[in-house]
Amino acid sequence: MSTWSATLLSVPVARLTLDTDLSGDESASHVYEHLRFYCSLIDTLPAVKVTVDANGRAVVSGRRVYARIARDLGRPAIRAVVDAASEPAGVARLLQEPGVEQLSWAEIDAEEREQRVAWMWQVFYFARPLAGAELRAFQDDVVGVFAQVGDLFPEAAEMGTVDQLTTGEEGRRVSFRAVQPTGDQAWMRDYVAAIRRFSAEVVEVVSFQGRKQSDRS
């Protein structure tokens, strides 16, 4: 059972105050363009953190990169965790605004926990375009890890395994959708191992899910 007491909202992106001095290029752990592409594929963006003042103004105070991406992608709304330093009266005022909706973390969490597997996007950027043989090796060694998911989770076998595998950026980017276990870290280890091995032995992975590979060394 979830025990997090924070207030969770869905807030129109236009209503967020974002520090415009923050450049996407300044992101230390992500390649902004890569993260933006990954986020463009998913329906629900990661939540931002907001601090709400007495006037109901929601200032993005954490995970700003997702707010910037939401704005760049033209997303209408984004989930926002209200920082405990916020003014309660301001939060109440914000909740009265059109399009602002209070969400229940407990309900979201319970619903997600029911899903042991889910279709999830996987996005890789490489240091150089993959040659034909390298792409095949990637499919066998990295994408192939998902073939075992159906053996572990019966419902995965009914859903499928992998689809929509495409390349982009002149072969530097590979993305695909896969049925992925959501909470099984034992499985994740095999996948992470395959990614790291491919990066070390075949072609360097610059980023995975937008996060810099250099940040993973």
Binding site: T3, S29, H30, V81, A85, W121, T182, D184
Partner: protein
């Protein structure tokens, strides 16, 4: 000086001894943390406190001798005596800075020898932490007192942390300050939600004692953490005389990570549920790693597609000595090589579920915020 020696310090040390004895009683406070306190921390602290009291008595004898000498020498007595000018009596002067320094130095040196909360509080040399210890001494059976003590602490700590957040140019320090601010506010909220009347009507008085004792300890420790952050250091450095801190990471979702940070406890139920059908190759338990890069991978996978509000990585800081004693006692292998490692040298540490509560008691959990 003599008045100081005879009143505050002596009384405080005695009160601390009494408080420790009370908390060492399982009928007052029980649970894994209490067992650790009762069997390991308090015996050592108690011996040190006895030593401090003895040293204090020695100094009292010395100071009385000094006063006698001064009187015999015919001065007008600028130092108050034990039996002389008490409260309300006209004083001809105050203790000199040197005398106060001697007393202060002595008490710090002696108390520094004692372990646990009192020791830590002195290390920080922080006034409101020391006041919080007052709550620890006097508030064990007084929930309202514990609440007031926490309010007092948080009212001072919150502006201090907010100032750091607003002014620091160090992003790591800012994140730590933000994390702690969130923790304090959440704890304050949780404490405010405790209905004193309902508790007082509770048929078992031990419930009240347990709540207030834990709150008071939390307050004292919170003061230490705040001070550490204020000084720009790490929590571990405050706990570890040798310096340094033991750090682990755990990758999960932002929602789950936030729960852990708010509760300052691992989400064991969630992990058990995840591992129920397919136990990990290295056995059940909470998987942590010293390699942030590995934890980030798990976070990106667990929080993929915005699940759980997106990826979240927990930073776990531990006092090295305590952690080393913990693993020595439990036999937990630390950073064992991962079977079939993705990259050479990858390691992991598995905290068995049965030891998670004890691990929580010494760990401080932080959220590694994405920018």
């Amino acid at each position: 000086m003599a008045r100081l020696l005879n009143s505050q310090i002596h009384a405080q040390l005695q009160a601390l001894t009494e408080a420790g004895r009370q908390l060492g009683n399982p009928r007052v406070w029980d649970g894994p943390t209490a067992v650790q306190f009762r069997t390991q921390q308090w015996p050592q602290a108690s011996r040190s406190l006895d030593g401090a009291l003895q040293a204090l008595q020695n100094l009292q004898h010395s100071s009385e001798k000094v006063v006698e000498d001064i009187v015999r020498a015919g001065t007008d007595g600028t130092i108050g005596t034990a039996g002389g000018s008490g409260p309300g009596s006209p004083q001809t002067g105050t203790a000199s800075p040197a005398d106060v320094a001697a007393v202060t130095s002595l008490s710090k040196d002696q108390v520094r020898l004692s372990s646990n909360v009192y020791n830590i509080a002195y290390k920080t040399e922080n006034a409101y932490t020391f006041n919080a210890i007052g709550g620890y001494i006097h508030g064990v059976q007084d929930l309202a007192g514990a609440k007031a003590s926490y309010h007092d602490y948080s009212s001072k700590a919150i502006p201090e942390l907010q100032h750091i957040i607003d002014t620091t140019a160090d992003p790591a320090l800012k994140v730590k300050a933000q994390n702690l601010l969130s923790i304090i506010r959440a704890q304050q909220k949780a404490l405010d939600a405790v209905d004193t009347n309902a508790l007082l009507d509770h048929p078992d008085p031990n419930v009240i004692r347990q709540v207030s004792a834990q709150t008071a300890v939390l307050t004292a420790l919170g003061g230490v953490v705040t001070t550490s952050i204020t000084k720009g250091g790490t929590v571990g450095e405050q706990f570890d005389d040798k310096g340094g801190v033991t750090v682990f990471y755990r990758g999960t979702t932002y929602g789950s990570a936030s729960e852990v940070v708010e509760n300052q406890a691992l989400d064991v139920d969630r992990i058990i549920a995840n591992q129920r059908l397919f136990p990990p190759a290295s056995g059940p338990g909470v998987y942590i790693t010293s390699q942030k890069s590995t934890a980030d991978y798990y976070a990106d996978l667990a929080g993929g597609g915005g699940r759980g509000l997106g990826p979240g990585t927990i930073r776990i800081e531990l006092p090295p000595d305590e952690f080393n004693a913990f693993v020595a006692r439990t036999g937990i292998p630390v950073e064992a090589p991962v079977p079939q490692p993705p990259t050479e040298g990858q390691t992991e540490t598995i905290i068995p579920f049965d030891n998670a509560e004890e691990f929580d008691a010494m760990a401080t959990y932080f959220l590694e915020e994405d920018e």
